[in-house]
Structure formats: C-alpha cells, structure tokens
Amino acid sequence: MSAPVDLAALDSMNAGGTRMEQSSARQREQLSREALRQAISSLSPADMLRLHKKAKFFSPGTGMEPADLLQEAIARTLQESDGRNCPADVSVPVFLGNAMRSIADGERDKARRIVSLDQDSAASTITATDGRTPEDAVAAVQQLDQIWAQLEHRFADDPQAIAVMLGLAEECTADEIKEIEPMSQHEYEAARKRVRRELERLSHRGLKQ
C-alpha cells in the first residue's frame, strides 16, 4: 500500500521560513506544486508500477498509449493553476490515478464527438485540433467494444467472474453480486481478481519498453 505523503517532510522542502510562517489551514490540506513535484519524483518503484497498471486500465478508448496518459496526467497536474490541488491526505498514486481517469473520460468524449461529426459530414475530412483523424477516433471507440466482448468471451465458462464483471458494471455491491451468483467471500475476491487481471492484460499493450 502506498503511504500518504509525509507532510512534515514536505513542509521542510518548502524553501524559506516565510513560506512556512504563512502556512495556513489550506496549505495543510493541499500540497504545494513543489511539494507535489517532489512527491512524484520520490515515488517508490511499487507506486510506479501501480501507476503503470492504472494507466493500462484507463487508456482503452482514448487513443492514447498508457505511457502517454501517465505523462499527460503528471504534466497537467503540475500545470494546474497554483498547483495546490492535491489533498495532502490522498496518496499521490491515488491522486494521479484520478487524474488519469478524468483525462481518459475526456478523451473518450472527444473521440465520440469526432466520430459523430464524421458520421454527420458528407466528406470524411474532419480532423481534431490534436491531429486525430476520424479513423483514429473510430478505432478508439471500437477498442472498448472489443475489450468488453473479449472479457465476456473469456469468462463465458466462469459464472462467478461474469457475475462480478456484470455486477460491478451495474454498480452492485459485493453482497448483491454474491446473492445473484452464490459464492463465498473468498470466491468473490478470487473472481474479482481474475476479472481485474484479465482486464489489465486486455487493456492496451502496456508501456513502451
């Protein structure tokens, strides 16, 4: 598990006594940009691997490589208005995971809009400002359909995994899922892990190596 950021250590990184004297409740609650940058630079190898996994999780349907999604999340986070947008009691991997999810949601919306515009257009000449063509957008949208179909196919003979997969997609609780498909807590956790691991394997090609 990733530990929350050590506030005392981060405060000591802030240069100059003046800034420390000005430390307010707001500064206590949220990291300064410099503290956030330091925290990101100091991520442990295990936390880097967690971010790698999350990037793979969120990149499908965006048209972005997982590595690019992770890079973009960090760049945008550090560019934010005053950089004081990361709550100090939230671990950096969790915060960056949320940032990646938010970017991914936006990119999927963008891909969907490009596809819609292209379908409405007589000529297939639409190109997004980021250079994405309608073909790229269609491929991104189709990727989610393909992954979902592959998941259903993979677990066709695994009723517990299918129950977890469809149940979570319907925002059911663990108890509700176990009621639909009777299984013990241990079996539920094992099925949940199978779904997550398969989703990780199917989701993109991983970071460029």
Partner: protein
C-alpha cells in the same frame, strides 16, 4: 453514452481501488507475471513520470516567458512608436527646465551604446508620471 463504454468505465472505476490495496510484493509479483522483467517496466514508468515533470516545467517556463514578453511589449510599445523627432523635442522641452535631466541626457548622448535605452527609459517615466500621452504629446 455507449453501453459498453459505460460498463467499462464503471468496472474499471470499481477495480482500480484494488490496485491501491495491493501490497508492494503483490504489485511486483503481478508485474513479473505479465512482463517477467520488472526492472524494465519500472524504468519505463519512471521515464513517463520524468517526461511529465519536464513537460510541465517547459509549459510553465513558456507561460513565464510569454508573460514577460507581454509586460515588456506593453511597457515599451508606446515609447518605440514615438518618432525620434518627437522624442528629441520632448527631451529638449523637459531638459530646458531641468538641469539634472539635461546632464543625464548629455551623458547618454556620449555613451552611444546605452543612449537610446536611457532616453526611452526617461520617456517611460514621463508617461508613467502622466506628463506625456501615448503619442508623446505633452499633457
């Protein structure tokens, strides 16, 4: 929203928390199952992180440069748009009533490398004091 997209997003949202709950050992084990060479994956993730930090730094530097350029442009634009003839007339008019200013301008004239900047700087001061307008007219 497309049904598969909705399902996918809800599923990943639910399962991503499981990644945070994994112990460090479990994270390494799973990565080894997927890639065998864990160190290479760590290095790739680290490279992405560093690129993100560098990209943010470059963006902030560019914003700072744009800001400085904007300030500089705003400050010097009016002075540079004034013709040298008008500048000379203005300097003459003000320096005739100010011996100290006249002395500074004489020094500026002797120093060819810094003379123009010195005069422009004086005109900016006059503008800031409200003694001339944007076109160099005395107020």
């Amino acid at each position: 929203m497309n049904e598969n997209r909705k399902n996918f997003e809800r599923l990943t949202r639910a399962l991503v928390d499981d990644i945070d709950r994994l112990s460090d050992i479990e994270v390494f084990q799973e990565t080894k199952e997927d890639y065998r060479d864990v160190e290479t994956v760590v290095a790739a993730a680290k490279a992405s992180i560093e690129k993100g930090i560098i990209a943010a730094g470059k963006q902030r530097l560019q914003l700072a440069r744009d800001g400085l350029r904007g300030v500089s442009t705003n400050m010097s634009f009016n002075v540079r748009s004034i013709s040298s003839v008008v500048k000379k007339q203005l300097i003459d008019q003000f320096s005739n009533h100010d011996a100290q200013l006249k002395g500074r301008l004489t020094m500026a004239a002797r120093n060819s490398s810094g003379g123009i900047d010195d005069i422009d700087s004086l005109l900016e001061d006059l503008y800031d004091l409200g003694l001339i307008d944007e076109e160099g007219n005395m107020l």
